[in-house]
Each structure stands twice: as C-alpha cells, then as structure tokens.
C-alpha cells in the first residue's frame, strides 16, 4: 500500500481541510471520539453502476471521527483488494494479478437535524502506478460530495452528489429511495431503488482524451436492492445487500472484458465495528 501522495495541490487541500475541520473542534475530550472499521466482501465490485472488478473483492474501511452533539468530523481510508482474476475479467489491477486496486481517503462533515442527515466531504481516488490492463495512477482524481437523507417512518429518500474537481471535472448524482419493510420486530428489510445520473462524467466532445466514467451523460443505471443492517452485540453489525441493476449507459453494461448485459446482479456483505471512547454513559 502506498502512502497518500501530496504532490498534487488537491491532496494538499485534502490535508488542509482535515486539519481545519479537526481544529474547529479543539476540545477533543472524553466521549467524543468514534472509531470504526469494516470490511466488505462483494462478489464483484460495482461502482456507480460500472463493473470495476468482475471478481470477488475485499474492501476494508477505517475511520476516526470527532463527535460534537449530532455532528461528526470524520477522516478515513478505504481500500479495494481484488482476488486474482482470469484473462477475460474486468479488473482494476489488470488481468491475472489481483491485490490492491484502489485506495480512497476522505474527510467528511456530517450532521443530523431531526429526520434529516446531511454530509459534505472530500475524497481522493488513488490507483497504483504501472498497471497493464487495469486502472493506473492516470485515473487518480478527487471529488467533493454531498449527501442528504430524509428518514421517515416508512421511506428514506436520499440524494447524493459528487463533483470531480480534478481529472474529470464533472458531476455524478444518485437519487434513491428505500422502503422500510418490517420482517422481524427487531429488524427491517430495506428495499431500495436508485437511479444514477452523469452530468459531465461522460465523454466530452471538447475534451475527448479526458478520463471518463461513462459514455454518455444522463441516466446511467437503475439499481434495485434489498439490504438489512443487523447489530451483533454492542459494537458489531452485519449488513448484507443484494442488487439487481438495469444498465443504461454502455459503460454500466460491461460485465466482462468482452461481454455486456442489460441486467446484472451482485451481492455484498459487510461486517462493521465501531466504538465511542471515553464518554459518559
């Protein structure tokens, strides 16, 4: 794993934002630090509807947050490790390689007011150098993002917005709604419907050589999911997800290096641990 490079101005900005955010809450005392980690296993890595790895992946995530009432300032890192792929697979690491394909680092400010959850953040996407047949560091980029949830008794509508400020300079938007379905007195099943929209992250006529995620702007895909999130004891939780995706953009239709499909399915399961340290009970 390589260290976070500070060569680009945008990465220096990331560190600056993190420092400013942390210094905004100088009294980091008891009960205000939350640390968490999780690992997700997915049978394939789908990102914004695009198959990034058609092989199973393990994706660890770690973060530490400062809590001020209902608000958090969080910094964290996330990594995607691919299992060894075949020659015909889609892979960030390149065919028949496996290992670390992508690293993300982020800083996020989030808050909750009544039923509303709002988060704004900055994230960087980093790839390995010299990856034949995969994604190399020319794909490194950074985005600002914002998410808004509105949690009601039965429905959770969400809007997520990302704007690439580095390599691509375009936006991607997700609108979704989750329906809460009671399956046990102590747990819900969530049925979700999500639509992805590209607004500048597709091929641009004015800059045809610019890295892009999609082939056309507009609706990229529709994702129907079923998921749940169970607590296992005080600090552990388990979140299985099952997805059926209807592909619209040609980039989202790719399922293997030489194959496409209008619909694809995948699942993932995540185990999470989080704890708050030193606080009053």
């Amino acid at each position: 794993m390589k260290a976070l490079p500070l060569r680009r101005p945008i990465h220096r900005l990331l560190c600056a934002v993190a420092l400013v955010a942390c210094s905004a809450f100088p009294n980091v005392g008891s009960g205000q630090i939350v640390a968490g980690t999780d690992v997700t296993y997915a049978n394939r890595y789908i990102w914004r509807g695009v198959t990034r790895a058609s092989v199973p992946v393990f994706q660890p995530d770690i973060y530490v947050a400062y809590r001020h009432r209902n608000s958090f300032v969080t910094v964290g890192g996330w990594w995607s490790f691919e299992t060894r792929s075949g020659a015909n697979e889609i892979s960030d690491t390149g065919p028949e390689v496996g290992g670390l394909g992508e690293s993300n680092y982020w800083v996020e400010l989030s808050t909750r007011t009544g039923p509303l959850d709002l988060a704004v953040g900055f994230t960087s996407y980093l790839f390995e150098d010299d990856v034949p047949g995969g994604r190399d560091s020319s794909w490194n980029t950074s985005e600002l993002y914002a998410t808004l949830w509105w949690e009601t008794t039965a429905l959770i509508p969400k809007v997520k917005f990302w704007y690439d400020i580095d390599a691509i300079e375009g936006a991607y938007i997700e609108t979704s709604i989750d329906l809460r379905v009671p399956i046990l007195p102590v747990a819900y099943l969530y049925i979700g419907a999500l639509a992805g929209w590209s607004a500048g992250q597709a091929v641009q006529e004015a800059a045809p050589s610019q890295p892009v995620h999609f082939e056309q702007d507009g609706l990229t895909h529709v994702d129907i999911s079923a998921w749940a999130s169970f607590r296992l004891g005080r600090s552990l939780s388990l979140a299985p997800e099952l997805h059926v995706q209807i592909n619209e953009d040609p980039a989202t239709k790719r399922t293997l290096a030489d194959d496409s499909a209008g619909v694809k399915t995948w699942f993932e399961i995540a185990v999470s641990w989080a704890a708050e340290f030193g606080g009053r009970r």
Binding site: D61, N104, Y145, P185, V186, Y188, L238
Partner: protein, 730 residues
C-alpha cells in the same frame, strides 16, 4: 436442515444458564398463648428499602431503566398481630414491583430467627410500583429480561430481606394491646379497567360492582373493583392509659404504574401518597407534626388489580423507542449503520414524567383523603376480641403434585411482549411486512385462530420455539398460597396479579368454602402480588380474549379456577382460630435464577468517607426548578440511607428551619458521575410548588464521618417549567 439444527442449538443455549439456588423452608414456631391477660396485640414497623443507584427498575420489562437515584423513597411497612391464643401474623407491604419467592423465603428466614414468624405467617405483598428495583426474582426469565439491567443479585435479595426483617422485628418489639376494626368501602372514580374487551367477555355473574346512580363514570371506570378494605389498628398508650390511633392496613386495587417507563428514579408511585396522607392524619390525631418519616404506619396492599390502572393522563405516557438506522460516522464506502432503538428526546421524556408526577401528587393525596375518611369512620367500631388464623400452602405448578387442570408448561402469549394498554412496549403494533398482524396488539390477532393444546386461545410468542428460548426452569414453577383470617375478614393472598373478575371468583369460593366449614367469615378481600409472582391470573372468559393479562397467565385458561379452588380448600382449614387450625405446608423450593451479577453497589464502593471532602459544587435555577450538585461518597455508601440525606430549610424569624426532607415528592436525588478518588457527583432537583416566598438553603444531613453541610441561600426559582428530567442531568 443444518441451519435449523444450528438455530435450535442457539436457542437452546439461550434458554440455558439458570442458577439453582435452594431456598430455606422457615416454618413458624407453634403459637404460644401469652401469659397473663389474654388480649389482642399489635405493632407496626417501617424500614427504608431504597437501594443505591445501579439496579434496573422493575415491572416495565426491558423498557425499565437503570435506577439513577430516587424521587420518593421506598419503604417496607409491617403490621404484626397476635391474638389471645398466641396466633401471630405479619403483614408487610413493600414498595416493590412484585415479590419473589426467593425474597419471601429469605425474609421469612430472618423473621423466623428474630420473631418466630416463618414463611407460613408472613404475608409479604408488593404495592406494584413500577419504579422499584429488580434483580431479586430468582426466576431466570424475570431476572434476565424483567428490566434493562439483567441479572440476579444475591446482595439485592439480602438487602431487601434484612430490611423487611427489620420492619417486622420493629413491629414485634412494639407489640402492645390493640383494638382493630375493618371496613370495606367503595371508592369510585380513581381507577379504570385497561382491558375492557376481556372484562366484557365475562358472564354477568362476575360483573358485580356497580357505582351508585349519579356518578359520571365511563364503562372502563365502572369495570373495576372499587373496594377499599381497611383494617384500622389502635394501640394502647400507657401514658394516657387509652387506645390511640396507630395505623392501618389497606387493600385497594390499583396498578402502581402512574410513573412511566422513561423514569430513571426509584419512586413509590401513587401508593406512597395514599399511605402518607393517612399517616400524617394519624400523627396529627396524636398531636405529632410530620417530620422526615411519619410515626404512624399505613400499609396499602394491592387488591384485584390485574386489569385495573390509575386514570393517569395521556401526556404521562411517552411513545416507546423506535427502530431506526443508527447515527454513526463514516465515509463514502462505509456500510449502512446498524439499526438501533432511538428513544424520545430528553425534553419529551421530561414532559411525560412531569405529567405523571403531577398526576401522582394530585390524585394520590385525594385517594389518601378517602382513606382518612374510612379510618375515622371506624373509630367507634374497634374490638380487641379478634381471632387470627392462617393457612399456607406451597403448590407445585409443574410435574408431580401439580393441579391437573393447569398446563404442563408455562407459556407467554405474543401480547405479553407488547405490554398493556397504557404501558406498551416498542413491539406494540408490529406487523409482518407492515400489514400482516402477528399478534403484537391488544385485540384481534392476539387470539390463536385454531386453538389447540392446553394453552388454547393463547397465541404463544415464538410458537413452538418458546420452550427452547425460555429454557428449563425459565418461568415460575411453584406458588405460595395463603389465607389469613382476622376476625370476620378473610384475606386471600395470591402470588399474582388477579383481575377484577378473577378476584370475584376467588372471593366467592373462599366465602362459600369457609362458611361450609362453619368458619365465621363475613367478608373476603384478595391481596394480589404477595409471596411470589406468577404474573397474571384471569378468568377463563377473559383468557379467551387474550388481552395482555390473558397472554401473561402462564398456566392456561383454568388458572383462576385452580387458584380459587386451592384458596377455598385452605379457607376451610382456617377453623375458628387457635393453634389447632393452623395449616402450614412450607415445602422446600429451589429458585432457578438468571445470571448472577453484582448490580447493587456495595457499602465499600469508592473511597472511604475520610478521603472525601463533601462540598456543594453548584446551585442554579433551571426554569422553576432549583438544581444543586455536590460531591459526596459513592452510591452504596450514601444510599441506602438510614435516615434523611438532605433537607431544605427556610429562613424564618427564628432562623433557618427545616422545610422538608428528601422524602418529599418534589425533590429528586440523582447520582451523576464518579469523580474517582475525589468522590461522587450527586444532584438534587427541587420543584418548589406552592412554596412561600423567602430564602431557602439545602443542607446535607450529618452522617458518620461528616457534619451537616449547608449550601448557600437562594430564592425559590421562578420561571418556565424545566421538566423533571431535563437535558442537563443526562
């Protein structure tokens, strides 16, 4: 198949883990006719049973919070009677949610040693306050799921048993010639039936109570047992050479759940106000002014209250927590947070508690005023020529010797999980996929559509898996039944919450059997929640409706029939009084307790007093509430308290004078935070209702190692209501 095996194994393991605790079988010494002049003797006792913060508050199930302090202290009050044949009986009413067999036997062991009173002569009843401690049940499921603080604490059992024993010993030590008399007076308008659908299903022959014409009561308020039974006791005063009022034993059917589940303080609920009003009255009759604790003693046991609730205001009930996604930080790839039960905001919880305490502080004294009227009406109807008899029976509910019409194994219905009307849990109203009713409500789907097996209409929670989850010995398996006769009054002592109509069944059977045996019984009253806890007892017709009480009747539809029959048989054994009539079947029993845990801070908690500088830290007004905090010794050392902890003084022309002590319902004491070797931070909140203007100050009472400590003077706070559990304390 493999998954089913794994699930079954997991559930089986969940149901295991009980702790077998043999209980003593203390049988009373034979009555010894007193020498000299034969006469009725009586004595009263009182012991503070307020535990330290830490245990869970019992009776709301897992919704009950961990206790953080107290609002109204808990007491065990004792009345001991001894007739001219030497027949002795002890009545103890404790401000607890229920009485466990483990506690009854432990207390009886102590009263046997100190006063010759064994289990067969000890009526230990609970007021059924829902703000008393748990962790003393000795029944696995009740220990582990009866409150949010799971476990069985032997120290809690010992603490309560010792103090109950102290109250009885005080009563025995103060036995004096006495005159007693009883009355049964209807008191309407303070209670309502919370399970009206089940009550309605009874035959008319069991709906016997009718209010007088002109009372404006709705159907639920008419569907109760309004009978206030009072046994007044006057004691001989050697100084004045006459009998003077001393106290009373009352029985009135009312749930002790006016204080809601979001409360985190010990509180004796509405019974405390009912008791105290008469105690102050009796003290005044004897020329005594009230102080920290009145001298007179008024025991208020519960009657057929299974389906009878106080008429608390709607605002006194908080909605239960809701299952929502948790509030956890993360980033763009962090999985969704786990769901968690999200409680109401502290402000809303405070509003609920305010509404309920306001109700208790207004309705309780009014009920107490009725007690005063009944007490005074008995003044000319007292007698010292009263015979006492009792019969006691230990009844196995499972296995050999169990009544054949009970179900083989106890089961709870789905409705038990959702709570009662007015005290619903977080599971109330749950439906599969949001639309398919699964019995998590109070009517309709709660009834098994195809009744089969002994439990008939009961929709058993978790179905056939319940046996695995509850486990072997997970629920009560024996009952201690008792009948006491005091003159013409028979008291049927039931280890359960008996509904109004089940109470009628019991009273009728006892009266019929006693009279058939030639025993002079004029009146019968049921004392619920005494000597054990079987949860609820309903009539067969109520059982068929499967409301909360029916679902919580553990041994099936014939439970009330069996209970009435057993008590009727025992009534026939009462005889005309005297030792020959005694029937005492105190068998050896075993408690199957839950997890053994130390939940109650000990007397050695924290640093010793000499290492702590007791001092006030702050005093401020939060709206209309005065809030003071101070550093003191740890919970376990400061509470349990033998005497007052804190008093509020008012400045008068004679200087600073006590205004009231910390047993005043307007004052709360709460343990806030450990400060390590510096001590423990405590807080008191005083809502000075109807307080005369002037200067006040708080004074920490002197105690071992500390002299009294006065805080600074302050004016009574004036402002918007701050709530009794505001955000600042959490």
């Amino acid at each position: 198949m493999r998954h089913k095996a794994l699930l079954a194994t997991a559930l089986f393991v969940a149901g295991c883990g009980y702790n077998e605790i043999p209980l003593s079988a203390p049988v009373s010494e034979p009555p010894a006719p007193p020498g000299g002049e034969a006469r009725l003797l009586a004595g009263f006792g009182r012991a503070d049973i307020t535990p330290p913060p830490g245990p869970g508050l019992y009776a709301y199930g897992p919704e009950g919070r961990e206790a953080r302090g107290f609002r109204v202290r808990l007491y065990a009050k004792a009345l001991v009677l001894e007739d001219l044949e030497g027949e002795r009986i002890a009545f103890v009413v404790a401000d607890l949610g229920v009485i466990s067999v483990a506690l009854h036997r432990s207390a009886a062991q102590r009263t046997l040693e100190s006063a010759g009173i064994g289990a067969d002569r000890l009526v230990l009843a609970a007021t059924h306050t829902h703000a008393g401690p748990g962790n003393f049940m000795g029944v696995k499921q009740f220990d582990d799921h009866g409150t949010s603080v799971a476990g069985y604490d032997t120290a809690m059992v010992a603490f309560l048993a010792v103090r109950i024993g102290d109250a009885v010993r005080q009563a025995v030590d103060s036995l004096r010639p006495a005159r007693v008399g009883f009355a049964m007076v209807p008191v309407w308008g303070f209670t309502r039936n919370r399970s009206l659908g089940a009550f309605r299903n009874n035959p008319d022959s069991l709906k016997v109570y009718e209010p007088p014409p002109g009372l404006d009561l709705d159907e639920s308020q008419r569907a109760v047992d309004p009978t206030w039974t009072m046994l007044r006791v006057d004691l001989f005063d050697a100084g004045s050479a006459r009998f003077v009022p001393a106290g009373a034993l009352s029985i009135f059917a009312i749930h002790g759940n006016a204080i809601p589940s979001v409360n985190d303080l010990y509180d004796a609920d509405i019974h405390a106000a009912m008791q105290r009003r008469l105690e102050i009255h009796v003290d005044s009759l004897n020329g005594r002014t009230s102080s920290f604790a009145p001298r007179a003693v008024h025991l208020v046991a519960n009657g057929a209250e299974g389906d009878v609730a106080p008429i608390f205001p709607e605002e006194g009930r908080c909605p239960p927590p809701k299952l929502r996604l948790g509030r956890r930080p993360g980033g763009p790839h962090t999985p969704p947070p786990a769901e968690e039960w999200r409680p109401l905001s502290p402000d809303l919880e405070a509003a609920c508690i305010d509404a309920s305490t306001t109700y208790v502080d207004s309705a309780g004294p009014v009920l107490g005023e009725r007690a005063v009227e009944i007490f005074d009406s008995l003044a000319g109807r007292l007698s010292g020529d009263v015979r006492i008899a009792r019969a006691f029976r230990t009844v196995p509910l499972r296995g050999a010797g169990a009544p054949p019409d009970l179900c083989d194994a106890p089961r709870v219905g789905t409705v038990t999980l959702v709570g009662s009307d007015g005290s619903t849990t977080r599971y109330y109203g749950w439906r599969l996929f949001g639309v398919i009713p699964m019995g998590f409500e109070h009517e309709g789907s709660t009834v098994e559509t195809k009744p089969r097996g002994c439990h008939a209409q009961k929709r058993i929670a978790l179905g056939s898996l319940q046996g695995l989850v509850v486990g072997k010995h997970g629920l009560p398996e024996m009952a201690q039944l008792m009948i006491v006769r005091v003159g013409g009054l028979a008291l049927a002592v039931a280890p359960a919450e008996v509904t109004v109509s089940a109470g009628v069944m019991i009273e009728r059977t006892v009266r019929r059997e006693a009279r058939a045996a030639g025993i002079p019984v004029d009146s019968v009253a049921v004392i619920s929640l005494a000597n054990g806890d079987l949860r609820y007892i309903v009539t067969p017709d109520e059982y068929a409706v499967q409301d909360y009480e029916g679902a919580s009747t553990l041994y099936g539809p014939h439970s009330a029939t069996v209970l009435a029959r057993e008590l009727g048989e025992m009534a026939a054994l009462l005889g005309s009084g005297g030792p020959a009539a005694a029937a005492a079947d105190v068998g050896a029993v075993i408690a199957y307790a839950g997890k053994l845990r130390e939940v109650m801070p000990g007397r050695d908690a924290g640093p010793p007093p000499e290492d702590i500088e007791r001092r006030f830290v702050s005093l401020e007004c939060a709206g209309d509430t005065a809030v003071a905090s101070w550093i003191d010794i740890y919970p376990g050392r400061l509470v349990p308290a033998d005497g007052p902890l804190l008093r509020v003084e008012r400045e008068t022309s004679r200087g600073w004078e006590p205004h009231f002590w910390d047993d005043h319902s307007g004052l709360e004491i709460r343990a806030l935070e450990a400060k390590g070797s510096r001590g423990y931070l405590w807080e008191t909140r005083w809502l000075p209702e109807e307080t005369p203007p002037g200067s006040y100050r708080m004074v920490l009472e002197a105690r071992e190692g500390f002299s009294a400590l006065a805080g600074g003077p302050f004016e009574a706070c004036v402002g918007e209501p701050a709530g009794s559990s505001g955000d600042s304390r959490r």
